[in-house]
Symmetry: D2
Subunit: 340 residues, 4 copies
Amino acid sequence: MVVVMAPEATQKDVEAVVDLVRTAGGDAFVSRGVTRTIVGLVGDVEAFDALNLAQLRGVLDVVRISVPYKLVSREHHLDRSVVTVAGVPFGPDTLTVIAGPCAVETPSQTLEAARLAKAAGAALLRGGAFKPRTSPYAYQGLGERGLRILADVSAETGLPVVTEVIDPAGVELVAPYADMLQIGTRNMHNFALLQEVGAAGKPVLLKRGFGATIEEWLMAAEYIAQRGNLDIVLCERGIRTFETATRNTLDISAVPVVQRLSHLPVIVDPSHSGGRRDLVLPLTRAALAVGADGVMIDVHPDPGTALCDGNQALTRVEAAEVATAVAILSPLMGRKLAHP
Amino acid sequence: MVVVMAPEATQKDVEAVVDLVRTAGGDAFVSRGVTRTIVGLVGDVEAFDALNLAQLRGVLDVVRISVPYKLVSREHHLDRSVVTVAGVPFGPDTLTVIAGPCAVETPSQTLEAARLAKAAGAALLRGGAFKPRTSPYAYQGLGERGLRILADVSAETGLPVVTEVIDPAGVELVAPYADMLQIGTRNMHNFALLQEVGAAGKPVLLKRGFGATIEEWLMAAEYIAQRGNLDIVLCERGIRTFETATRNTLDISAVPVVQRLSHLPVIVDPSHSGGRRDLVLPLTRAALAVGADGVMIDVHPDPGTALCDGNQALTRVEAAEVATAVAILSPLMGRKLAHP
Amino acid sequence: MVVVMAPEATQKDVEAVVDLVRTAGGDAFVSRGVTRTIVGLVGDVEAFDALNLAQLRGVLDVVRISVPYKLVSREHHLDRSVVTVAGVPFGPDTLTVIAGPCAVETPSQTLEAARLAKAAGAALLRGGAFKPRTSPYAYQGLGERGLRILADVSAETGLPVVTEVIDPAGVELVAPYADMLQIGTRNMHNFALLQEVGAAGKPVLLKRGFGATIEEWLMAAEYIAQRGNLDIVLCERGIRTFETATRNTLDISAVPVVQRLSHLPVIVDPSHSGGRRDLVLPLTRAALAVGADGVMIDVHPDPGTALCDGNQALTRVEAAEVATAVAILSPLMGRKLAHP
Amino acid sequence: MVVVMAPEATQKDVEAVVDLVRTAGGDAFVSRGVTRTIVGLVGDVEAFDALNLAQLRGVLDVVRISVPYKLVSREHHLDRSVVTVAGVPFGPDTLTVIAGPCAVETPSQTLEAARLAKAAGAALLRGGAFKPRTSPYAYQGLGERGLRILADVSAETGLPVVTEVIDPAGVELVAPYADMLQIGTRNMHNFALLQEVGAAGKPVLLKRGFGATIEEWLMAAEYIAQRGNLDIVLCERGIRTFETATRNTLDISAVPVVQRLSHLPVIVDPSHSGGRRDLVLPLTRAALAVGADGVMIDVHPDPGTALCDGNQALTRVEAAEVATAVAILSPLMGRKLAHP
């Protein structure tokens, strides 16, 4: 941490900073410049945070230097982690595809979608039984009935299940049906949910909030990790910008940035980023080439009747194209395609 | 709703759209242009949404025309509403100040802050007992003990209490202590919480998500309203942009825009928008002058020791400046200052 | 400037930084922490910039502390400046209204618009003869004929002229007709134009780029100032964000932020920010109340036939409302309305 | 074009719209809904634009349906174009690498950088002699001396030259030295420069403005095309968002979106997007995999002494990695690596 003093700060102002830091058990080093004096702090950053140094007379700015997350940081955990979900790995040596329908609608739609998922190379089946929708008038999901459909389809196809939980109270209901619990973009800052999921004993897929910085995303992961659960896979799914040609702007750079900052695996959702079927294949290829540890893709046997995000769901032809891209690109990236 | 056909769409494609719309109980009118044909739809928009018209062959785009919220819309409720909180009105003829500490820390800090709130012209006391913090290592609030402090200070000062609820499961605990329940910016998309709060029988202060559009904000209000609770006050508190000089960018235009779209009252939080004490007074004046129905302001007896957002909290001198600005500007805006 | 060393940096790495800084004529102070070492630099920041310290082995980050502009900075020029345009002041004690048509179309339209401008309380007439338009198919302005119309209308009404220049080669043509040269939002980063205008011997109205930070805006002003011209008035006109309800998002906080960083006057354009007539009056009030040194407003005798931005132009009734708001708010803000 | 009438619009209001459109030579079709009436327009969109229909009584909104650019649109030019620069193709069947130093500094630095460019697989040499810099105190380039160095190095290495022009008046000077003229991100809205470059008879590399939408970028290309020059290559280089971990956010989706909207080639600049050397290789791979027609990369023999953007410049090892990635990915994408 660095304290920047204002040009008009007095010698006494600087000493007050140094004294306060030392009282809090830290140490402080003063560098006097021509127009500015800066004070470098050594010690416990959170203790310094609590000092409200920016409030002291003569202080212009307080600049944080180190990252605010610990358990998910790569700083003291240099090897990238492998997270295993019902035997399926996510990590630096594999490439893992999750696919399925945005929403579980009927048993046959889900089963057909699971077969499409397999055709796309998926090792895990995604499908929402609880849907967080911007409009209260939009389809909200089948609830527990949807979970039972997922369980049946999983048994039939052998694909483990990734499904979303949207409410702390719902974790107890959803967890037994899920091999991996998904936190959606609108819930990345739902701290009660993060903590509940952290305690549920299941791997977590944590989507980035569309308005969240990479640092905030890693802090959300830290909430989960704090409860003793480090089986977290991060999922970049586009951020909100001024561009309107796509639903969101896929922040492809976030993948290598996160891999440098955190030891957790990170995958990409090309379906929700673009919100357009024609962008799914090129964005999948980009995700694999940039070094993502996997992708998550929407498929639907009949997108024209889909109750949720039909515009972006792939059908059989496009699912096969994804499988081909994955098969070609994974060895080039030094990865093996993960199987269920 | 308008369906835009692609240049290469055939006569059959157009007829398919018209037929599908009519099957769903609506009507459709075709306008043929030189390069484009468009089809205007008449009837129930949600029924049309479910048709996934964008999926049909030859369809280029589907453009929604009407707003997706109903209960909070001004379209069929032309008069702006007055929401009353423990006798304190929010509405078109009044100007209502909420003030208090960001976080409840101790009884004496809260009592002193409440007195500062009164000095700033406040009719309601804000104070957080449960704090949603980006970092799990940051101060998380006193919990129920904080609620009891708020109750004591409210009894002593006569100021009704506005306090945040961060979790559906916590609504039952918080509601009896609160005259108004606050939904914070990170929870604007927490639909389970919105619904729980909608059913709690208390007025709600709904902050705008920092990554949310005005339309999404009104949809979040619609979630609350759907549970039968229309006692909702909206609070603009800054959105996330590329500018880094302020913590957020106060979207001052949102106030008149919302007042035109919705009958609900709308206030401004100048403290969290800017995140800087020196901006609170000018932004308060701007909020009043743009026509906001009130403001919400952070005060603290000793910002240097504040456990949360001390950099933006006002002390006695600045609180008095806010009171002066409010006293001068409210009659100019044709409003009476609301009292507890 | 502060150099942050990586956790794995060696003692030699740190010494290399210190040596390089001293070779460049500066001094460096080392603060060793538990996980990090930081080096504070004292001396000429530009000399340090040229060292590319971030390239050195073991360097994690280089954090700039001081602002990169000088002539327009308030740091060494504590009093806020007054810029005078043909006798009309912009500064801390006055409130100056610029008004006129977006584009000069005909002599009678311009004359009527100038009368509307006066009715709105304007001391200066704006009007574009050269229009930078996103589409090459949109109306591009009358050129020199428009400048002559402006001159005639100025002579008739006594209002000095503010008009835009869009091209370095055009400055010589436009300057004799202009009392103040306007740089539009799309040209804020047109450095050749900034320099040419800086040498033209006329006051400059510098609009903020809709994608530019406050710091970049002040750097653009520095380009003009470097040519010896400090008669610069800044104009906030909205930035680009994800919100689509308004054309741009007026960054009202930019006014007090800029007034703290720079001694230059700063005004607000409520017409182009919102892009909607119904927002002009409330945003004008907000601009005055936040402390802006003036406003710039579009008026048009018949917006329905306007060749440019008719949706935001005020007519007689609204112009009178602006005049009333200005008359009421300027004394409250301790300002006198500027007259031509 | 579609005109949406307000709920309170009368029959006469609707007729007024229809009459006005017909007077302007178009036709209009009315669709009456339960709460809304819409009017579909058929005819010349620009003629309709000039009618200011949004100004008419009872009109709520005017929705544009077709794209505002023509010459660069793919709508009437289905085949994607090939642009040839001194014999080097940019187009759907090739993959073209541009590389070189951000700024030309000395003959030997430029020559070494050109050799690095070749090592990276480049068919064209980039290098700036005129640098548009945010700060007037930053390095501004060597000017004509830099152009002569580029010419010498081009003669020595056989690499054609891509160099930036920052000012309409400079086009005459720069064009004879350039095989391709570059318009930088800050000048994308410099319409005078676009027109001058359009008339210069040289292919153009048009970077996207960091604050510009895809539509605005294509409109900028239309300005060039209008002067008869369709030899335009578009270059995505990152947009400005709230994320601060990277200098800009590479909008990787823009590549397939542009390829669908326009017949012009589009390449990616992974160096300026991220602003970090460690991101160049992964972003290059992503660009190739998403389907870009090429990439543009900064190289420098000694980034530690670079006068411009040294933090992102590649040296020999990383240049070779880029060459390998290009060699592997181009055949997979059905492309041949372009050679000088």
